[in-house]
């Protein structure tokens, strides 16, 4: 969009200081582990040393007798959960499996699976006592690799699991394949037969973790009257409450979840792990109980994203992409529910491909149950597809961005599920990338290379509720319920100020607990600035309407003669009659009482979005070290409400993707022991590993939002895996199809070649 087409906003597009900023730079902001209710005691969870075993018995007597112990919990303390699937935010959750994942009942399915827990006055005492719990296990065969788990003779995680597909059971015997998805269009065989060039390659990625710096922690107080208070670090206080209510079989209204500041989530702080256990310990001890995971517990027992195995066959004809045959197998971890369907649906989204056949498999393995991780399913799919696209462009002698542009999706292009795209911005991203100073600069020198890649994410709508109280001095209080993971208090306050025509500084924002605001779905799916923003805008319109009604009465004119504009009311039939927002607010007590705006909605019109990244790397063939020399991320965000935080989202997503490409992986031994469950060995990028990541914000407004917001958080993690891999292929002449492209893999591969 050119500057001339862009609507002029007063607040949107500026870079004010975030409302929670001072608390966060002074150490006053209270995160999950900072809750300190009176009488607080601490707990520790005992976890399985086996990746797969039957639990024969649990003897807690020695722990209960240990001095200082206040309570011990096992799965026997949880009510039996029903075997039903519930929608929780972006994901569907089976509550029996959720309950078993919280505390294993008869079987442990991964190393680190919670088995029991102890509460004591100090965490050290709880830890010592937990070690005295005797658990008798019968170890079972372990299956860790997704393709091995799909074999007929693979060890089974669940003898009752049958393969489901589109509402039907399709396997006649138990399997680790929980479900299959398939998308077919056109005539793939014919397109391959007629192609100018065909590329076929197999790719794998390993499980990786979101790597939020704040470990999972939960503090729960269960009073004798059944009232439960939870201090949680969660992406969704209501999702937390909902899961807790189901696992504990308690009415939702008896549970109050207080959302503490969240020290990073990226999708991983949506499921509950500790909350139900802390609740049981609190009920039994009569004290508020805090459970906090160690870093190794976070790695071993919370939800990483799937390891994958993806087969790709692509064809080009007439200078564009014409056919794709794709096979995706995703590890779900211990229980079904990987992001394979999203992977299968997003994989071809950047391109208008007439002929395709896509098969996707959701497979259980003896690793932790996967959770959402930023654009779940899409990065691994893009890693595979965008490398094959790159290879195809080279095969036909086309510039990789020009080839992508020639094949690009646009408004009206059908996704593989038949959905036609509304207005989207992939072509705009490609053009911005081609025109960038980065892409126009030469890449020179030995062992250096450049790679590009695109990526897509749906972005989500879902449910939001907000209230806005107008104070008599003209300030407003916005009460919302979307966990602020990254500065959304600012983006919401800015939209409210824009919609009411008041100053940003006049808005105070509170993320409220579950007793104090209507239902809000999780902060996930890049939805908060879009969907809660939509609710904020509607609440502002509600206030405008109430003020117009009152002004009409004050002025003795018709309501439709009163206009609300730029923070003022005026009468269209009498120019002398005007009132500012603050002027009307001051009169609220005399004109009908308090003015409160409210909105509750199921947001429609979420705008999917694309990004295109450019990476320059230098590979040291002796050590295998990859230095990222320069990195540019182009992304269509619709409209950037607070550009600094949009840039931050793009930079952060790119950084996570670069880590995924080069170093991060869950490294298991044959027995299913995670060998690198620490930040020392699970190597996330440091400041020294990364260059300054340049951002190019493209704004193709989303027609489904009054200010054109699409959502910015997830798209930027999709392209980097392939952009880096393509750059390494350019630098070394070797295509690395397995992640991570670690120094060891590079040295082994290049020296073998040489």
């Amino acid at each position: 969009m050119t500057a001339a087409e862009k609507p002029s906003y007063r607040v949107i597009g500026t870079r004010p200081i975030r409302p929670d900023g001072v608390e966060k730079v002074t150490g006053k902001a209270l995160f999950g582990a900072d809750a300190r209710p009176a009488g607080l005691v601490y707990g520790k969870v005992l976890r399985s040393p086996h990746a797969h075993a039957r639990i024969l018995s649990i003897d807690t007597r020695a722990a209960e007798a240990f001095p200082g112990v206040l309570a011990v919990a096992t799965a026997r303390d949880l009510p039996a959960a029903s075997d039903e699937v519930q929608a929780l935010g972006e994901t569907a959750v089976n509550l029996k499996e959720l309950s078993d994942n919280v505390l294993a009942s008869d079987r442990v399915l991964y190393r680190g699976h919670a088995v029991a827990a102890v509460a004591a006055a100090s965490v050290h005492v709880a830890e010592e006592a937990a070690r005295r719990i005797r658990v008798e296990y019968e170890p079972l065969p372990v299956v860790l690799d997704v393709r091995e788990a799909m074999l007929d003779d693979a060890p089974l995680l669940n003898e009752r699991l049958l393969t489901r597909s589109m509402g039907k059971t399709i396997s006649d015997r138990p399997s680790n394949v929980a479900s299959k998805v398939q998308f077919v269009g056109g005539d793939v065989e014919k397109a391959f037969a007629e192609a100018d060039a065909v590329v076929e390659r197999h790719f794998t990625t390993k499980m990786v973790h979101q790597g939020y710096i704040e470990p999972q922690t939960a503090t729960v107080q269960w009073n004798p009257d059944g009232e439960i208070t939870v201090w949680a670090t969660t992406q969704g206080a209501f999702a937390c409450r909902g899961q807790l209510a189901e696992v504990l079989r308690r009415p939702a209204s008896t549970i109050r979840v207080i959302p503490m500041e969240v020290g990073g989530g990226f999708g991983g702080k949506t499921p509950v792990y500790l909350e139900p256990v802390a609740a049981i310990l609190s009920r039994k001890s009569g004290r508020p109980v805090m459970l906090t995971m160690s870093r190794s517990e976070v790695f071993e027992a919370t939800g990483p994203t799937s390891g994958t195995s993806i087969h790709v066959k692509l064809a080009a004809s007439g200078g564009r992409l014409t056919a794709a045959q794709l096979d995706l197998a995703y590890e779900a971890g211990a229980y079904p529910g990987s992001s394979v369907s999203a992977g299968a649906m997003t994989m071809l989204a950047p391109y208008d491909v007439e002929n395709f056949k896509i098969d996707g498999y959701d497979v259980v393995v003896n690793k932790p149950k996967t959770a959402a991780y930023r654009a779940p399913g899409s990065p691994a799919a893009a890693f595979a597809l965008e490398q094959a696209v790159d290879e195809l462009a080279r095969a036909i002698g086309a510039d990789p961005l020009a080839f992508r542009e020639a094949s690009s999706s646009r408004e009206g292009t059908r996704m593989v599920n038949g959905m036609p795209f509304p207005r989207i911005g992939h072509e705009e991203c490609l053009r911005a990338a081609m025109e960038s100073a980065h892409y126009r600069s030469p890449i020179e020198g030995p062992n250096r290379g450049r790679g590009v890649a695109s990526g897509y994410w749906f972005n989500a709508g879902m449910q939001s509720s907000v209230t806005v109280a107008v104070n008599t001095d003209g300030t407003v209080n916005l009460v919302e319920g979307s966990s602020d993971l990254s500065g959304t208090r600012a983006s919401l306050a800015m939209q409210l100020a824009e919609s009411l025509g008041i100053e940003y500084s006049q808005v105070r924002v509170t993320v409220a607990d579950t007793d104090s605001v209507g239902h809000n779905d999780v902060s996930g799916g890049s939805r908060t600035t879009f969907a809660t923003g939509l609710a904020v805008h509607q609440a502002a319109l509600d206030i405008q309407q109430q003020m117009r009604t009152r002004a009409a009465k004050l002025w003795g004119c018709a309501e439709d003669e009163v206009v609300y504009e730029a923070g003022s009311l005026r009468c269209t039939t009498d120019e002398a009659k005007t009132l500012t927002f603050a002027g009307m607010a001051a009169q609220s007590a005399r004109t009908g009482g308090p003015i409160n705006g409210r909105a509750s909605l199921l947001a429609r019109g979420a705008g999917g979005a694309f990004g295109t990244h450019i990476a320059d790397v230098e590979v040291d063939p002796e050590t295998g070290k990859v230095q990222v020399l320069r990195y540019t991320a182009v992304q269509d965000v619709g409209t950037a409400i607070h550009p600094a935080y949009v840039e931050g989202q793009i930079q952060g997503g790119a950084a996570q993707g670069i880590g995924w490409a080069l170093n991060e992986e869950y490294y298991y031994d044959d027995d299913g022991r995670l060998a690198n469950a620490s930040f020392l060995d699970y190597r996330m990028p440091t400041a020294l590993d990364l260059p300054a990541i340049d951002t190019v914000i493209v704004e193709v407004p989303n027609p489904g939002h009054p200010y054109g917001v699409r959502g910015a958080g997830e798209v930027p993690i999709v392209p980097p895996l392939a952009a880096i891999a393509n750059a390494i292929a350019d630098a070394t002449g070797h295509r690395f199809s397995d992640l991570p492209i670690s120094p060891r893999r590079i040295v082994e591969t290049l020296h073998h070649l040489e």
Binding site: G167, K168, S341, N417, P420, R604
Partner: protein, 87 residues
């Protein structure tokens, strides 16, 4: 007539057809009209009067777990798709 995109795994019920044109003012009407031409379709998509948890529908590009009373326009596009799992 609304256009319905039949997912690959349900096409055997519809004689292999990927797209059907059917009449219907609501999602429920549309699905019943497909059922009339593709017996067995309904039970794959709907259970106890609502979309199955593993199924989603997109109406004119808006995907979600819509109620069966959701209005469908005369030129609407309806896709049946798997619900997005996020792990």
């Amino acid at each position: 007539m609304a256009e319905v995109w039949v997912p690959a795994l349900l096409r055997p019920l519809c004689g292999g057809t990927a797209r059907l044109q059917v009449e219907g003012a609501t999602l429920g009407d549309v699905l019943r009209a497909v059922e009339a031409r593709c017996p067995g379709f309904m039970e794959r998509v709907v259970s106890e009067g609502a979309l199955r948890p593993e199924i989603a529908v997109a109406i004119d590009g808006e995907a979600g777990s819509f109620p069966l009373f959701e209005p469908v326009g005369p030129a609407s596009h309806v896709s049946i798709l798997p619900a997005i799992g996020g792990g």
